[in-house]
Every structure is written in C-alpha cells, then in structure tokens.
C-alpha cells in the first residue's frame, strides 16, 4: 500500500463513489456556474503564478469528471487525480467563503480522497501515522509507559521552578481534560510543561489521560472516515470515562476541527463534554485575570498572528487569538487578510506529515503567506497550530523572513507573571 495504487478496482471505486455522493456534493457539482470567482481566493493559484489549473472549481471539476467516468477510470487517471487532491489543496475552505453559492471545494476534495483511499492510494507517511494511531493510540506510536514517563519528567522539570505545580493523570471529575498532539511528547515535551504552568497559575482543575490523549486525526485528511471515527472515539471515551466537563485541545488546528466539529458527525451523537481550544481557554484566563502577562517582555518585537484555518475559519476562534495578543504584544500588526479570511499557510490538509514528495509544493504554496508576513515587518509570528508552526519555520528559511515562530505557550513561558510565593526558594541554587 502507500503511494502506489494497488490494482485498480472499478467495483470498489464505483461503490465508494455512490456511497460518498451526498445531496450537497451532487448539487454543487451541478450548479457551479464556472464563474471563476474562486480562483484568486486559493493560495495554490496565487503562489503558482495564477496557474488556472490551480483554481478551486477546476480541481472540483476534475473530481466530477472522475465520478462521471467511473467505469473508464484507470490507474493513470488515478495518478493524475491523486496529484490534484493531495498536492493542490489543503482543504482550508477559503474558497468556500468567496463562492457565491458557498460551494465547499474542500469537502469535494475530501470525498475524492476517500475514493483514492478505496484504491489504496494514499501518501504513505499519512497511512503509516494512521495505522500507528489505530494500533498504539497515538500517531507517533508512543507506548503508555513512555507517555507517563514523559509526563512525570515534565512535572519534575516544572516543579524545579514551581514546586506546587503538578501534572495530574486520570483525575476523575476534573473540570477539563487536556489533550495534545503526539509531537509534543515526542519532540517538544516542553509544550506540556508550559501548558501545565499556565493551568497551575490559573488555578485550574485539570487532568491528562493515560489513554486517548493524542487528539490529532490524520485519518480525516486521508478520507478514511472509519479510521477517523475510531481515533476520535479514543479521545471521547477517555473524556467521558473521566467525566470531565470540557476537553481542552492543545494549540493544534486540525485537532480542534476534527474533535469539535467533525467527530460528532462521525460518531452520530454530541459529546458529553464541551470542546475548547487552548486559545479560547487562554483568552478566558486573561480576561478573568486568572493569569497575568508582562507585556514588556516582547516590547522590542513586532508581532503578527497566523490564523490557522482550522482554528479561525473552521474553528470559530479568530477573536480569542486576538484577545490574547492584546495582553501580550505592544507592537502588533495584522496580516491582510486575516481572521476568518486568512490564507492557509500551505501546511494544512496533511501536507506537513506527508513530507517527502510534497515538500516542494508545500513550500511553493506558502509563498502567499510568506509575502503576507513580510509585509507586516514582524519579527515574531505567533501561531496556535502545530502544522502552521512547522510550515512557518520552513517558510522563514525558504523566503528569508527572519522571523521567530512561536506558539502562545512559548511566549507565556517568558511573559507569565509568577507570584513570588509560588516560586521555588533559591537557596540551593546560585545562578546570577
């Protein structure tokens, strides 16, 4: 399996196409006026010198033709199709906002990914991560022991500074369960201690879980709804078993989208808890004065904010991010456009984990974002999404932006005002 198609199976293809053709898709493919108004709303189109083949409706049309010709569809066409649906759309839904009919090209592409998956044709990196996720409970295949070790280690680190802080595990009935991206324990464990620090200072009643702690869902990007459902269920089960009121999602975009908005559909019922993104929780803490930030820390920097599509446009948290910024940055400049109207950074739709063959296209499509950032003159670009974060770092190198890319947690670590009485006594340390 992986990149190469196994033998093309027209029956399976046809069956999947029929299964996935819902009333909306049918209507959209029929009423698209071919007006072209969506063209310059897509970052792929703009970054590729306005190549007409990159305009959203054209990509959607390709899918339509495929479905109509499902009997004559063969491996060569599948290859071509595959390049379009994986290499030319991040399913960011920007074009949808600008189409007079609100035609959702992203969901057309998503359906096409399901068709491709029915032929075993998916990017192998995604497949590997999803298989690992289904088997081990997280996409990095971290064992439960390693996970708990990491949490304990982070707790110790944190306690060196804040002796009273803890990272509770499986605390039943806590106010919220904090779920993360598996990259955190694997590559950025500090993300976890930073979050714990914020929660501690805010006096939160929270917990982490031994199981169902990885809230990412790459199966969603593969059009593998069955897999995506199982993955989402791991988180839901963990949360409902712990009887928490809320689940707080780490600074990650697609994780929020899949848990809050897509998974209730896959799972057929509403969750018994509320889903909240970190930015919303942080904004709430700042608003209520539960945490305080020292604005002077970043006074010499100019900041801008990258709205992750799946946090702002598809997650409804555009204002929350901006509210935090007010407490954090003296010199803040918006990108144009921004908020719900932001351009995708080019790292979405699974592009970052797809790595390999897609990297070049990913960097190219990020040109739009790079230019937007350049125009702000910012030295710091804040983004509450792991995918955007990686993409922006790559873009900064590629386009020589000279920016620091930071998550809110990273900035908080430096700017949080810690009450003296909570700090560790410095008697056995003589720094400074």
């Amino acid at each position: 399996m992986g990149d190469k198609a196994a033998n093309f199976n027209p029956d399976v293809f046809k069956k999947t196409a029929e299964e996935k053709s819902n009333a909306r898709l049918k209507m959209w493919l029929e009423i698209c006026a071919h007006c072209g108004l969506c063209a310059d709303t897509c970052h792929f189109y703009l970054a590729n010198e306005r190549d007409p083949k990159m305009m959203p409706a054209y990509k959607a049309k390709k899918v339509l033709e495929t479905i109509n010709k499902k009997n004559k569809f063969d491996e060569d066409r599948l290859d071509d199709f595959y390049e379009t649906i994986y290499g030319e759309c991040t399913m960011c839904r920007r074009c949808t906002m600008f189409c007079p009919f609100g035609i959702d090209v992203a969901s057309i592409i998503s359906m096409a990914r399901s068709l491709s998956a029915s032929q075993g044709k998916v990017p192998k990196e995604l497949l590997k991560a999803v298989e690992g996720h289904l088997e081990s409970g997280n996409q990095m295949s971290i064992t439960e022991e390693e996970w708990v070790d990491t949490l304990e280690w982070m707790e110790e680190e944190l306690q060196e500074e804040l002796p009273g802080a803890t990272i509770p595990i499986d605390k039943k009935g806590a106010d919220f369960l904090y779920v993360v991206n598996a990259r955190e324990p694997k590559f950025y464990p500090m993300d976890i201690s930073q979050a714990a620090m914020v929660f501690y200072l805010a006096g939160a009643d929270w917990t982490m879980s031994r199981k169902g702690w990885d809230v990412t869902n790459l199966a969603m990007f593969m059009g593998d709804i069955a897999g995506a459902t199982k993955i989402a269920k791991m988180v839901r089960d963990a949360a409902e078993e712990l009887e928490v009121k809320r689940v707080v999602v780490t600074e990650c975009g697609h994780a929020l989208r899949s848990l809050q908005f897509e998974s209730p559909i896959w799972l057929g019922r509403d969750h018994q808890f509320e889903v909240v993104h970190s930015v919303s929780l942080f904004a709430e803490y700042l608003r209520e004065g539960r945490i305080k930030l020292d604005k002077s820390v970043f006074a010499n920097e100019r900041c801008t904010y990258q709205d992750p599509c799946n946090v702002s446009r598809n997650g409804g948290c555009a204002q929350d991010g901006r509210e935090i910024v007010k407490y954090l940055c003296e010199d803040f400049v918006e990108m144009e456009p921004h908020g719900e109207y932001n351009y995708c950074c080019g790292g979405g739709g699974g592009f970052i984990p797809m790595a390999g063959a897609f990297k070049e296209r990913r960097l190219k499509s990020g040109k739009v974002k790079a230019e937007q950032i350049k125009a702000t003159g910012a030295t710091i670009c804040i983004t509450p999404c792991h995918n955007c974060y990686d993409q922006l770092r790559d873009l900064s190198k590629e386009y020589e932006l000279g920016i620091k890319v930071l998550s809110f947690k990273e900035m908080f670590e430096e700017a949080l005002i810690i009450p003296e009485e909570l700090k560790a006594k410095e008697d056995d340390e003589d720094e400074e």
């Binding site: 909306r24 209507m27 063209a39 306005r50 007409p52 906002m97 702002s312 555009a318």
Partner: protein, 216 residues
C-alpha cells in the same frame, strides 16, 4: 394547428410543466437524498445562519463583491434584467391575461426595452470573459456557452420582435421557441441554480455558522 398555435398552446404548457415539475423534482430529490446522506444539515439546522447566509449574497454584502466590483455589478444587473423583464413586460402581461385572466403590474415599455439590451450586453460580457480570462476559460464547458445562448436568445428575439426588425412572424415564433426551450432546460442544467442557490447558501451558511464563522 399552426406553428404559432402550437407554441402558444400545448408546447407552452409542456414547457411550464417541465419547468415546474422538474424543479419540484429537484427539490424533492434533494430532500430525499439529503435526509439519508446529509444528516448534519438537519442536525445543525439554524434559521439564523440560513438567513444570514442568503441575505449577504442576495444583496452584495460580501467580500467577493468588494473584491470584484465589476463582475458583481454586471452580475446583479444581468440577473435582475433576466428575471424582471419577462415577468413585467407589457406584452407578456397581455398574454397572461388572455390565458388565465390574471394580471399584475407591468413596466413601461421603454424601460423593458433598455433592460433587454442590458441583459444581452451583460450576457455578452460574461461570454467574452469566459473566452479571455484563463481562470474562467479552464472551467468552461461547451454547455456553458450553449446555456448562455439559450438564455440570451429569448431576449435577442424579443428585442427584434418588439422593434419589428426582420420578419415579425418568424421572429416571434423563434422567440416563443427559445423562451420555452430555456424553461425546459433549467431544471436539468446549472441554470437550476436560480433555486438551488438558496439551498446551497443555506447549507454552507449553517456549516460555517455552527463554527461561528461567516460564509460571506
């Protein structure tokens, strides 16, 4: 039965029948399929977002309109002329009355005459735009051109008939024929968007709305 009587009588009935029947069928099929396969529409149904979504596009209160003022202006004018002219034309009013003894308000003939020209002109604008803009050309199909012809033909022939250019008898027959042709193709082509627009805007508006985000 003369050709005129045929077009004025039975074929007109057929055209109206296909038009109304076809559109009704489209709507029924949409509900039927969507209740099975588009459950989120019903689960997250919201009048508020439905109306907001339609409202922001029925009048040009959206980012697309700001970004594309010319296309938006021509597009609105085109659609208004397309709908208003045939419904409020004096000559059509007479026919409505003759057939069903119903009558309503109509526009002065000089106004509808200009509106006809505007409809044709703006239609041509879109036709030319299709040919010259690479990003529009690439999604254009033969059907798009044909449908533009079918849409404009009743206006062109109507204009010629009103001014009695060429042979009136022939032109009026053509006019009736094209008018009926247009009605017949609407339910089966992208022209059905005159109604499906509202459905599409509603579902997308609600989908964005449940994320608390605008779709305009």
């Amino acid at each position: 039965m003369s050709l005129y009587e045929l077009l004025r009588g039975p074929l007109l009935w057929v055209a109206f029948g296909v038009f109304f029947g076809g559109m009704a069928l489209r709507v029924v099929l949409f509900f039927q399929l969507s209740m099975q396969k588009d459950k989120p529409i019903y689960r997250f149904f919201s009048w508020k977002w439905l109306w907001l979504s339609i409202f922001h596009w029925v009048i040009p209160l959206n980012e697309t309109a700001k970004k594309n003022p010319v296309v938006t202006l021509v597009g609105f004018v085109f659609h208004i002329c397309l709908i208003v002219t045939p419904l409020f034309l004096v000559a059509h009013g007479v026919l409505w009355y003759e057939s069903w003894e119903i009558s309503w308000w109509s526009l002065p003939e000089s106004v509808t005459d200009y509106m006809t020209l505007i409809a044709i002109g703006s239609g041509l604008f879109f036709g030319i735009r299709r040919m010259v803009s690479p990003h529009v050309r690439i999604v254009t199909t033969a059907a798009d051109y044909l449908l533009l012809v079918v849409t404009l033909a009743p206006f062109v022939t109507g204009y010629l008939a009103y001014h009695q250019y060429f042979d009136y008898q022939t032109i009026i027959l053509l006019h009736m024929f094209f008018g009926e042709l247009m009605l017949v193709v609407i339910p089966f082509t992208k022209l059905s968007h005159f109604l499906m627009f509202f459905f599409s805007r509603a579902v997308t508006g609600m989908e964005f709305g449940r994320r608390n985000a605008p779709s305009w």
